[in-house]
Symmetry: C2
Subunit: 260 residues, 2 copies
């Protein structure tokens, strides 16, 4: 890329960033979720990134239209939503309001980040994968917009009622709430790991080369962790081990060594 | 990119493709799923793509270790798997074998495609998004490997037992099987749409420009569909409308018009 077009690219990116960060928050909630705030701030402070949307993860109870064949067009009403853990009583109180097909869902953290250059997207992608967000991927749109979507497959989706009639017991709801809360815990750990890896990746250039260095005997992040301990006396949260749960895409990716 | 490095890139891609297509199938099943076979064949016939892994979608019952805090390390045993629809009796028979925490899952089609150039990945990404695979994304790895992952969020994950004790009624299982089968139907429709859009996208250069043309009054794919009908008497399955279900990432993407 010529020096002139690199400069133009930088200018365009800065303009996009300024426009985006000045816009109103159009989400239902209207503000950045607390548990993702430090990640969002770190990214927006960097010259090479800005966030375009985020959600720290949520447990929701939605009421869909019963027997609706065309799933795309059904309107769902939201009976309950939390970005933290929930209780059985909260879910049961919300479920009483169901008149259609209520579904309890756990949805993990999702983050969309616009990146200045493809190499910035690649770096962020490595951070995401290493933190457990194994469904992350890049989009290169028209006009050169590069978006890295941080995604996980870690989810729950459980129908609870049909035409307003509750199909499961209170005991089951209690168990389900425990499962959903465990997923929320795991989700928050992944966000912490992501933040730790991100901080390491956004450190000054001399350390940044370490993130890409896979030839040395000692893994790059462990080296940084050691240096940080030596420097600060505190360890980083970054875990570079590949997560090996039973999720679908992981199984396929694992066989291919795609992200090694 | 210089002419010489473009030629080298082409040669490297061809070598990767040859190696990959000659390898043994290391998946549990050992062969390409029937319902994704035409898509896989189309891609592998093209000079610009080859598939590295695929699954047409599946309904599975897995048995996890109860009370296992570290979800990454638990080994799950597979009690049941099908790439088609299932019956209540099949699920109940499999559930009887549970000794831990059984979970019924629907997992949609997943496809990983290595692309020759970034523009090939972008084209395939548009095809995927337009067909409903809204969690699709690109990875650019070391050595320049470009992988487009075709993914959907369309899923089901329902705990059914805890420590081998079944927590739900037979009536609920029957309802759940209906929900899972509906998702399988929708999944197969998305695969068909993907195939239709893919064929249009891989047509000769004069038609390929139509895929990227969003300025004209008539949507490009409708124009191709009309031409195909005029030519063949049969319509294409490609649906370019944005899917607007309640899935998490869709909500965020929709607000941003990321994929317009």
């Amino acid at each position: 890329m010529s020096e002139i077009s690199a400069m133009e690219g930088e200018k365009t990116f800065k303009q996009w960033k300024k426009q985006c960060l000045n816009k109103l928050d159009l989400s239902k909630k209207g503000s950045v979720d607390e548990d993702i705030n430090t990640v969002v701030s770190s990214l927006n402070k960097s010259d090479n990134y800005f966030t375009t949307s985020s959600c720290s993860g949520r447990i929701i109870l939605i009421d869909g239209v019963s027997d609706c064949v065309d799933v795309q067009k059904q309107n769902c009403s939201w009976l309950f939503v939390t970005h933290k853990k929930c209780t059985k009583d909260e879910v049961m109180a919300a479920l009483e309001k169901s008149s259609g097909d209520a579904v309890l869902k756990f949805e993990p953290c999702v983050l969309h980040v616009q990146c200045k250059r493809l190499e910035d997207a690649q770096l962020l992608h490595s951070v995401a994968i290493n933190s457990g967000f194994r469904n992350s991927g890049v989009t290169v749109g028209k006009k050169g917009k590069i978006i890295m979507a941080v995604r996980s497959t870690h989810c729950l989706e459980v129908p609870l009622s049909h035409k307003g009639k509750v199909l499961i017991s209170e005991e089951y709801i209690a168990f389900l709430v425990g499962v959903a809360n465990n997923k929320m815990d795991e989700n928050l750990k992944r966000i912490e790991r992501f933040y730790g890896c991100l901080r390491s990746a956004l450190e000054p250039e001399e350390d940044k080369r370490c993130v890409k260095d896979t030839e040395s005997d000692e893994k790059a992040v462990y080296r940084r962790r050691r240096r940080r301990r030596e420097r600060d006396g505190a360890g980083s949260d970054c875990n570079v081990e590949q997560q090996s749960d039973s999720e679908h895409s992981d199984e396929l990716d694992g066989q291919l060594g795609l992200f090694s």
